[in-house]
């Protein structure tokens, strides 16, 4: 099952936090308040990030590793923990498998080698390893700095290894927590919006699980896993995928290698988009379903990063022709010959019948308990504050947790003389992804897209604050104004992709993906920078000057002002 193992309250009561590849201060500000409560109580915070972010400013120690050296760092920490006798031998023997091979794998990762590969000073790695291992309770949190690499899964597994090595999982105040980017990303995965899973993380290739769904719906569920997003684009390329139904996504602007994404989406036989705004993707669609806003125009549930399912209630009627997602989907089902009732509670009870981890969560109980954390197996089950407590039971209930043998691999987009600078991308406090949900609101901190450079690089390139620069990668080029940022070191540059109408950052990024899950390597692009012309790069979007979509208006994205409340 995929989800954070800890409750928010645990981050307030833990003793050591590794915030790895996450600028949660800006990107998960609500979660960060829980984290701050932990700091106030005395927890030590380590921020592992190539940039000295706003989150790193709050940290006791910032470790500024090279982009894409996370496994090198975690393996070095592991080696140091083992060599110093700080590994939790009892837990390892009791609850894990594969430790000997793991120890062998990390053995060469001395502090010296770790420093050479990650560039984090050896004493910093040592301190981090010792504090984490010796802490009574410790939590690892991560976000896209770990997962937006071609080694995404391996990166996560290497962090899991650290938790297994020290026994920092399955206990109150110790755990592993990917922070979710939206209020309901967790819920999407829980409901089976994953290529290989049915609701409740039941594997689609598990005959027993599938049989339950077959019987319930009276139709057979295809017995093999589907495509993840990157697979879908590859299938479009091959012509195997010709019809796409997009709900609440804007892939034209959010996918790596935007040229390709746009070309493929435009080449589909049928593109259906369901969204609250007429996004760049929706503008290319054959059919657009105007949708209600989930947060206040529809009934249902959200599930947050601590696996807590919470009720959400409709407070406003959606404007104009916009309708609730459920109503749209049920209408579509009816056209396809299935008479589903657009009743959120009935639909939820269906989930409860099919997904054991949700069975105990009736609407009445969700209301009574202000939400429940899965798994929640029956009407009496209080829900689980943290996962994997079974690993501490004697004997262990269920399978033991395996160490994973994961090796350090550099990013695919390598630096060379032609592309000597590393571009990493990320998000800012006031913005959300491509700006669909945030661009319409004024923010005093909004400064538009910039290419952020270290003072040293800016000097070297002869660029000054606000000057226009042309940024070129192996895939494309964009023009953006320069912002000089003390948080960057020479060789490291940063952009967001919040303002795709102005600067299409994802023209630059590498769509090489992790073969295991398909996440693209947004975090590591090789680029070069030259003083720009000062004229906005027309960009590949204007290849067809006759297209109505050729040149998107610049400035913040503004939905039709009359259309929303």
């Amino acid at each position: 099952m995929g989800g954070g193992t800890s409750s928010y309250q645990e981050i307030e009561e833990t003793d050591c936090i590794l915030l790895w590849g996450s600028n949660a201060r800006e990107t998960h500000p609500i979660f960060f308040h829980h984290l701050l409560a932990g700091l106030k109580r005395g927890a030590k915070l380590y921020a592992i990030d190539p940039r000295r972010t706003a989150s790193a400013q709050w940290a006791d120690v910032w470790a500024g590793l090279d982009v894409g050296t996370d496994i090198a760092l975690s393996n070095t920490m592991a080696r140091e923990i083992i060599a110093s006798g700080l590994a939790n031998r009892e837990f390892i023997e009791h609850a894990t498998t594969g430790f000997d091979a793991y120890r062998e794998l990390v053995e060469p990762w001395t502090l010296e080698r770790g420093e050479a590969e990650t560039r984090v000073p050896a004493p910093v790695i040592r301190d981090m390893a010792h504090t984490f291992a010796a802490a009574k309770r410790a939590i690892i949190c991560w976000t896209l700095g770990i997962t937006e690499h071609h080694t995404a899964v391996h990166n996560v597994l290497s962090l899991i290894n650290l938790a297994l090595l020290t026994g920092h999982v399955g206990r109150w105040g110790s755990g592993l927590n990917p922070l979710r980017g939206q209020n309901n990303v967790q819920g999407g995965g829980d409901m089976g919006a994953l290529p290989d899973r049915l609701p409740g993380f039941q594997h689609v290739e598990n005959d027993e699980a599938r049989a339950k769904f077959d019987a319930f719906y009276g139709v057979p569920v295809p017995p093999k896993k589907g495509w993840h997003l990157s697979d879908m684009f590859n299938a479009m390329e091959r012509g195997d995928l010709r019809v796409l139904y997009v709900i609440g996504e804007n892939p034209v602007q959010s996918e790596a290698d935007q040229h390709r994404a746009t070309r493929l989406l435009e080449g589909l036989e049928l593109l259906v988009v369901q969204d609250i705004f007429l996004t760049e993707t929706a503008q290319r669609a054959d059919v657009v379903f105007p949708a209600a806003a989930g947060a206040f125009e529809s009934d249902g549930t959200f599930t947050n990063s601590e696996r807590r399912v919470q009720r959400v209630r409709k407070t406003l009627h959606p404007p104009g022709e916009a309708r609730e997602d459920l109503a749209i989907i049920c209408d579509l089902a009816r056209k396809l010959g299935h008479d589903w009732a657009p009743d959120p509670e009935a639909m939820w009870n269906e989930v409860r019948q099919l997904s054991p981890v949700h069975t105990g969560m009736s609407y009445a109980r969700l209301e009574q308990h202000s939400g429940l954390q899965w798994p929640c197996y029956d009407d009496q089950h209080p829900g689980e504050l943290f996962l994997h407590g079974r690993l501490w039971e004697r004997p262990v209930r269920g399978p033991r947790a395996p160490f994973s043998l994961v090796r350090h691999e550099l990013p695919l987009d390598q630096l060379n003389a032609e592309f000597p600078l590393r571009l990493t991308t990320g998000r800012r406090l006031a913005e959300y992804n491509t700006g669909v949900q945030t661009g319409a609101y004024a923010s005093p901190t909004r400064r538009g897209e910039t290419i952020d450079l270290s003072p040293e690089d800016a000097r070297h390139l002869g660029l000054t604050e606000g000057q226009s620069a042309r940024i070129t990668s192996r895939r494309g080029a964009v023009v953006a104004p320069v912002h000089i940022d003390q948080a960057l070191r020479p060789g490291l540059t940063f952009m967001t992709f919040h303002f795709p109408d102005d600067v299409a950052t994802n023209m630059l990024t590498n769509d090489a993906t992790d073969p295991l899950v398909g996440t693209a390597e947004f975090k590591a692009t090789a680029i070069r920078i030259e003083p720009g012309s000062g004229v906005r790069d027309p960009g590949p979007g204007s290849r067809d000057p006759g297209s109505a979509f050729a040149s998107a208006p610049s400035g913040p994205r503004t939905p039709d002002p009359g259309s929303r409340p």
Partner: protein, 625 residues
């Protein structure tokens, strides 16, 4: 944290001033130059840096002292050093009168134009100085020199900054001369301080000598305290029925007991020496003339309450007090009377001085905590009370200077014996600050229960034999009484029976020639200026009250009998005067709203003196038409 530092950079001199306080910055992240070899891959931060947040105010003082004002560049540097967001630091620096955020001359005089000095012609003095010196003169609320006449605090910024009080200011020219020199002014007269108990060493022992202090009985109480231990000390203080002398009259024994019992650690002792109530100067005299007593009493309090660290928060307008206390701390530490194992005992106690920045509200105990913590000096909501959640969120005992000093005699005499003096409800003696139109202004220690008449007679009666118009008890937050109240006993119960307050011990006398309307307008201005602005009733109420008393109310143009207030000297008609005019009603309603709804005592008492004046003073009652 989340530092968004833009623009201005500190000058070398500004950096140096901050670095003298904080030490040189270790890395570029903390303000040293950017050095990517050293700083590019790691940084310490977080609590290690923000844990020094309480250095914000000392850092501002350091720059103010060295440069004379605090530029945006200096502020940015302090923020970088201490990891404080500049917007927050700006909120702090602009909170305090004595910190300037605009360029100023190096030498500046803060001249008191408050109620006592006004009786000595401060208004004219200020006008003359302003016309001669311009930006080098700033009007100040009460400087706590009411026994000496008009007063000024002269500050000279520079590498060897000086801060002196000139009191009395004999002439405009004399003050201009004082601004030209960094020398300590001559001719500051010793205080007139008369008393048998807690004032007994003043003008007798040598204030700056530990040896002399000991010769006059000093540090005997500490010896006793070490023998007794926490519980027995608290038992004596409780038996003495000592009530807090800062104005709130809370039983000291109960306060100490509550802190001693708290399980959370560490505990702190805070000595509230932010004596800012207009007309009050008792703590200044104690600190300047008997500093070791203050130190010793804090140490006793530390032993009693299980605290190892004490802070004494001295108002920024008291440079001489600060110097005296600082000198006493150094000597006490050298003699093993502070530090680890004080006087050979297992106890540890250290004292740190914190200088206020010029803000009356910081005398409110929780505002004082916030000020020490480097925040705006805004009071906190209570509960939680300081005994549970005080300084740095820890159990804290906070006492006024005079309260603490009393404890020494309580230990030496025994609590029950000590309680023999005074009245049943108000034991011991009290210090009264006699000022205004009395023949001999000064500090008088009077056994509780003597009458107001007795106090005024001790000070030689009304100056020049003139008739008494009114007496202000307890300062700006206190109450006016008329000549009919002279037989009121000076005890908490006596004052309460007369619907008055003794507050911080102010007895300010106004003879028949005083312009009370001017005094009331100044009091209203005082509260307007000193309201911290945190809660609406006080922030708005004090402004509206001042407008009405200054004759700038919403309908101040209205003329005619009974139609309202026309400004100072023009016959203010208040709620007590029986006038049915709209302004009188408005003033009464403002007072009620502030009393009912303000967070702290400032707003709750901002109307007290004004309302009582209209109610009790015959000359103002006589203004009714």
């Amino acid at each position: 944290m989340d530092l968004h530092i833009i623009g201005a950079e500190a000058t070398e001199a500004e950096r140096a001033a901050v670095d003298r306080l904080l030490g040189a910055p270790a890395t570029g992240w903390e303000g040293a130059g950017r050095n990517i070899e050293r700083d590019g891959r790691t940084a310490l931060g977080g609590r290690r840096v923000s844990g020094d947040r309480d250095q914000v105010l000392p850092a501002f003082h350091a720059v103010q002292d060295a440069i004379g004002w605090i530029s945006h560049g200096a502020l940015n540097y302090i923020c970088t050093r201490l990891s404080v967001p500049p917007a927050e630091a700006w909120g702090v620096v602009t909170f305090y009168h004595l910190l300037a955020t605009d360029p100023r001359p190096a030498a500046v005089a803060h001249v008191c134009d408050d109620i006592a000095c006004r009786l000595n012609g401060a208004e004219q003095l200020c006008r003359d100085l302003e016309s001669r010196l311009g930006h080098a003169v700033h009007r100040s609320p009460c400087l706590g020199q009411c026994d000496r006449g008009s007063a000024a605090l002269v500050t000279q910024a520079g590498l060897a900054p000086t801060r002196h009080v000139v009191s009395p200011v004999t002439s405009v020219d004399a003050l201009i001369e004082a601004l030209k020199t960094t020398d300590k002014p001559e001719g500051v007269s010793p205080p007139r301080a008369t008393g048998a108990k807690i004032l007994r060493r003043i003008n007798v022992a040598e204030a700056s000598s530990l040896e002399s202090y000991r010769k006059h009985g000093g540090y005997e109480a500490l010896k006793k305290a070490i023998e007794l231990g926490s519980a027995a000390i608290i038992a004596e203080v409780s038996a003495a029925k000592l009530l807090g002398r800062g104005g709130a009259a809370f039983p000291t024994g109960r306060k100490w007991d509550a802190v001693a019992r708290e399980a959370a650690t560490p505990h702190y002792v805070v000595c509230n020496a932010d004596e800012s109530e207009p007309g009050t100067f008792k703590d200044r005299v104690l600190m300047e003339q008997d500093p070791f007593a203050v130190i010793e009493a804090m140490t006793v309090c530390g032993i009693a309450t299980g605290s190892e660290r004490g802070f004494i928060y001295i108002r920024g307008e008291y440079p001489e007090s600060e110097a005296a206390i600082a000198g006493a701390i150094i000597q006490a530490r050298a003699a093993g009377l502070l530090g680890t194992g004080i006087a050979g005992s297992p106890y540890t106690f250290e004292i740190e001085i914190r200088r206020g920045g010029g803000a009356y509200i910081c005398g409110e105990e929780t505002a004082l905590f916030n000020s020490i913590e480097g925040k705006r000096g805004e009071p906190r909501s209570k509960p939680p009370f300081p005994a549970q959640y005080g300084l740095f969120g820890r159990p804290t005992v906070v006492n006024n200077v005079e309260t603490l000093v009393n404890v020494l005699d309580i230990l030496l005499e025994g609590g029950a014996q000590w309680a023999e003096t005074g009245t049943a409800g108000t034991t011991g003696t009290r210090l009264f600050c006699l000022s205004g139109h009395v023949a001999n202004p000064g500090l008088y220690e009077i056994e509780c229960g003597h009458t107001l008449r007795h106090a005024i007679e001790l000070a030689g009666g009304v100056a020049g034999g003139r008739a008494l118009q009114a007496v202000l008890l307890g300062g700006a937050a206190g109450t006016f009484v008329g000549p009919d109240a002279l037989d009121m006993p000076l005890s908490f119960e006596g004052a309460r029976a007369a619907n008055a307050t003794l507050g911080s011990g102010v007895i300010m006398v106004f003879d028949e020639t005083a312009d009370l309307n001017d005094t009331l307008a100044r009091i209203a201005q005082f509260f307007r200026d000193e309201s911290c602005g945190q809660c609406v009733p006080c922030r708005v109420g004090t402004v509206r009250q001042a407008e009405l008393l200054l004759g700038r109310g919403p309908e101040s143009g209205v003329r005619g009998p009974g139609s309202g207030i026309r400004g100072p000297g023009s016959g203010i008609r208040g709620p007590g005067s029986g006038i049915r005019g709209p302004h009188a009603i408005l003033l009464a309603e403002l007072g009620q709203a502030m009393r009912d709804a303000s967070i702290c005592g400032l707003g709750q008492t901002a109307m007290s003196a004004i309302e009582s004046a209209f109610a009790n003073v015959p000359s103002l009652k006589g203004a009714r038409s």
